[in-house]
Symmetry: C2
Subunit: 640 residues, 2 copies
């Protein structure tokens, strides 16, 4: 018998060799969370063994080498072999660890920021010799002379403010100068504004215009420090959920101008919120980089997007030239450059190029697969020598649309599900209401968001609730599988548990939609790999971008055949890579050039050009796939 002490409570029990830690905890009156029924799949029963002593792990699913070195073990998959001190982490800490460890990075720049080297927009304190009868040189020449910038340029509004600005503070000032732009690396420097001598530091804004969500960073352009973040639904949503409906709306009378106004209003609201939070004025923002898919950037610039939607699906412009904030109505300094990142094609936009630089796959020798799991399932394959991209119409199922109880990833959305393999009862994790979370009260669910749907479908498949064709198994002894109004369905939450007092279900129709979505994405990268003669298992890194991507549980995504079956450590979640890329381009002229180069050299593979994609898609319309050999880990799990 061995002595097992549980921390932080300090309770002790005696246990024989081979006893599961979950059993020992039960014996001590402590309860470990095991929503998967103790199969070692959900990882929610994780504990820490002091010095890793006295235990043996039977399964290490969900644990990395570092995790194990730190003593992490799954309660349901670890047996006693000697005396041990076991710490049970607080429940919310487990949640956070599981959901964030491998998800969004914090804002860590992949380079040491030096504004002199990296930043084209900088402040130059300047003292000007006042004019006199002996030297009647004009204000503008005087300023250029003091700055030693003979070819300095300026917009008309800046020329208009010149005289008063120089005289306001006794011929001392702070010049805000953009020394170059990607479009004209050797172009003349431009005077963006002339500020008082004690002007606060310049601020930049990086913006990602998502079809659903617009996100923004404010950054101090001198220190590179992120001052504030903000995100908000894209105000265009009320004119259509997806890019296609927006393009159609843009074709209507005044539709384009209306959509532009809506997204600018959203950005301005974010700017207002973020500047207030950061304690700065919007006029202090002297540069903005903007990322987003091609349609979003066309709409933002009021460039008609019609051709994006019609064969042969081309954009008006993949690489818009920098414009002024005043020309768009964006509420920052009116003479600030607004620089949209370059896209590759109609459905591989700047958000993807941004991801390519954010991940640095374009400078890496490692063969990398980058994908953005969303409506368009944009995927990039390549390395420092070559890049190929494609987009498949996955449809909006992963965004919660086209699914009966689907919803966006907001408060009340079920974002992860575990199904007990014995009684088929689900356990759900719901995106909490902040107030309820503080009070320790669970938030009642309202529906299923994308990550919840992936999680749910994987659990249903692994526990046998559905077969590989996605058909519900009515032979199981559970009231949750039933014939509903719209055909067979599985009840995820009963009405009395929900916010709106209606059963939350997933129907066979929903399952088919999800399978088509995941099938399209998987087919996309298999076809792309084939087109360049690569086997998928040659891929060294799989990078998952997009703001939705960060919430996906890889294991479950592999189980449904959305992601390729690879060692867990080859996957990396990059979070909102579009926003990150915009931030990198904002801060570093080298990254800005890099994104232009990467976008220009990236081959775009049009999947609808022949039948290859269709065939791959048909093969992928199973759980996880017709060819189970492509999913060895899932095959192994199913055998168990």
């Amino acid at each position: 018998m061995h002595t097992i002490r549980f921390e932080p409570s300090g309770q002790q029990v005696q246990a024989s060799t081979g006893t599961l830690l979950s059993e020992a905890a039960d014996q001590a009156g402590l309860e470990l969370n095991m929503p998967c029924g103790g199969q070692g799949r959900c990882g929610r029963c994780v504990v820490i063994a002091q010095n890793g002593a006295g235990i043996r792990r039977r399964s290490t699913v969900r644990l990395s080498a570092e995790d194990m070195a730190a003593g992490y073990a799954l309660g349901c998959q670890t047996v006693v072999e000697g005396d041990a001190v076991i710490t049970i982490p607080p429940q919310e800490k487990i949640e956070r660890r599981l959901t964030t460890d491998k998800t969004a990075h914090g804002v860590v720049l992949p380079f040491t920021y030096n504004p002199q080297v990296h930043q084209p927009v900088r402040l130059f304190p300047v003292t000007i010799e006042p004019p006199s009868m002996a030297d009647q040189t004009d204000d503008w020449s005087r300023l250029k002379r003091a700055l030693s910038m003979p070819d300095l340029a300026a917009d008309l509004p800046t020329m208009r403010r010149l005289g008063p600005a120089l005289r306001a503070n006794d011929w001392t000032a702070t010049a805000v100068i953009e020394t170059d732009t990607w479009a004209q690396p050797d172009g003349p420097p431009r005077l963006v504004a002339l500020l008082p001598p004690d002007a606060p530091e310049a601020v930049g804004a990086a913006v990602d215009i998502g079809t659903t969500t617009v996100s923004l960073y404010l950054v101090n352009l001198h220190t590179g420090e992120v001052l504030a973040k903000a995100a908000e639904y894209n105000g265009q949503i009320k004119r259509g959920e997806d890019v296609i409906s927006r393009i159609i709306f843009a074709g209507k009378n005044n539709g384009l101008a209306d959509l532009q106004k809506l997204v600018v209003e959203t950005i301005n609201a974010l700017l207002q919120r973020a500047t207030r939070r950061a304690g700065i004025e919007p006029e202090q923002i002297f540069k903005m980089t903007v990322s987003g898919n091609s349609t979003m950037l066309h709409l933002f610039l009021t460039i008609p997007p019609a051709s994006i939607r019609l064969e042969p699906f081309v954009t008006a412009i993949n690489q818009p030239l920098p414009v002024r904030a005043a020309d768009l109505g964006v509420n920052i300094h009116p003479q600030a450059s607004v620089d949209c990142l370059p896209g590759v094609a109609s459905y591989v936009g700047a958000d993807i190029s941004a991801g390519v630089i954010g991940s640095q796959m374009c400078t890496s020798t490692a063969l990398t697969l980058f994908l953005d799991v969303g409506t368009n399932g944009e995927t990039v394959l390549g390395d420092c020598d070559w890049l190929i991209s494609c987009a498949c119409s996955a449809g909006p199922a992963f965004e919660g649309a086209g699914v009966q109880d689907g919803m966006r990833a907001t408060i009340g959305a079920i974002e992860e599900v575990w199904i007990n393999h014995q009684d088929y009862e689900p356990t759900c994790r719901v995106i909490p209401h902040p107030k309820l979370e503080v009070q320790g009260v669970p938030t009642p669910p309202r529906g299923l968001c994308g990550s919840g749907l992936i999680s749910l479908l994987a659990e249903m498949f692994i526990t046998g609730v559905v077969d590989k064709g996605g058909n519900l198994n009515f032979n199981l002894n559970t009231p949750r599988i039933r014939e509903g109004e719209h055909g067979p369905e599985y009840v995820v939450a009963w009405a009395h548990e929900t916010a709106h007092e209606r059963d939350i279900v997933i129907t066979k129709v929903d399952i088919d939609n999800l399978m088509r979505a995941k099938g399209a994405i998987y087919a996309g990268f298999t076809v792309m790999a084939q087109s360049v003669g690569i086997e998928l298992d040659m891929v060294e890194r799989v990078l998952i971008g997009g703001s939705f991507g960060q919430y996906i549980n890889v294991e479950k995504a592999v189980q449904i055949g959305l992601l390729p079956d690879m060692a867990w450590d080859r996957f990396e979640f990059l979070g909102n890579t579009s926003l990150q890329g915009a931030l990198l381009a904002l801060l570093n002229r080298d990254y800005r050039r890099q994104v232009a180069e990467a976008a220009a050299r990236m081959t775009y593979l049009e999947l609808s050009a022949d039948n290859t994609f269709y065939e791959a898609f048909m093969s992928a319309l199973f759980l996880p796939h017709t060819d189970l050999d492509q999913f060895p880990s899932v095959a192994k799990l199913l055998q168990k």
Copy 2:
């Protein structure tokens, strides 16, 4: 006795040797106009002797060598020496000849225009391969590829119109491209507009914004041909006659914006008139160059001009950067460049720089004096190696302001006066009303314009009506010299002869104002010449610019001491040099560069910096000058 036949009437008379042609004409019953009383000063009695035979000229004042070679002779100064055939030209032809021979040039470019070499704004027909599923390149890259212009730039509005414009005509179009600007000679080409394949040729506009008059040329940018001209009073006049009152008005609430609007309205009205006359659309105008004094250009660009008026008298910007028509409200193609020519100082503006290139004094080895006789009396002295400029506050007397019966050079203005030296009766030439002119009816006078005032003052001086101090000689036997309400005065026209039925007079106060104005201008160039160690008679050419300049009678201007006393053939009238310079800069990138270089290297001499100017001014406050040695021809005339 000799036979004298007069043409075109065919009358013949017999005359003895030594008979004046004017006497012979009188004998034939023909009347020669002799407003100066037969002193050979006015040149109005000019006749043509066939083959120059049978005559001897006693005086050749007002006749050039070419005139004499062509047989021209003054009736009152030419005697019969043999048989002669004398043609008496129609009166209006004499007038035209006398007033225009040495005045405004027609539009003759000083170079052979070749748009490929000279013109940065050109049309490029372009056929673009339509996009296909095999080539989904975006519209913009496709256009750049077809034009072989990888670094083509465009403004946002052009990017917005790109897709529809390319599709409107089956992927053929005419690209309007500005290949460079003076501000960025190596900058990227810019797409100004994308037109249908059958687009008419590009048109440019050259504009001179005068304080009083705005003038405009429309030019075909392909052929260099002037399509139309138009001129109109500057709409800002109602806010003040001169630059100082406009600057004061600009400092008032909304004053600057109001003045900008007024001048743009004037320009737009001229554009409307000129485009209608030329049969083109304003949208066909893809480039505009603008000249004018520094205040006019500041107001046109809505740049506060306050510092121009306040010591130390500096402009906000001497060399404004090119802007877009849309930013100013000028009704040409909204994306057209509007390029203001460079000035040198607050009171030596782009109008003067334009004159310097128009006259090519900046590339000539001949020492040249260029002057613009106007309120500011801007003067430039130099050659291809050096240039110095100054401005003296002559005041508005030559523009008819500050003079009791002064007026602008418009219908009814007396523009030339001759005084009979026997009875002191004046003969006036009046700017005619076109309708009355057609009917052969004289237009009654309303007042005196600048050239009329110069002419009048010279005649009064030469005939002894005033002495060298400008005092009226009450000893003369004429009712025209009298004591008026405002002191001594000379009556130029009696009330019954005038349009408004009031005597038109010149008073002693007016004479003093005129003497101050001419004294300031003459003092200006003597001080400037001194400052560089030049004697005035070393000047090889005297160029007189400014739209007012062209109406000045050099001889009379010398007689009052406004212009230096030099051989008549050293003077050249250039007309509206500001507008001509704008035209040259519009058509030829080399001239555009030249004007920038000339303005940059021109030294500005501030006359108010020390006492030198004041002393020279005091010496010049006589007719023609304290030092009569400086005016030998006038001295000679006075002896006579």
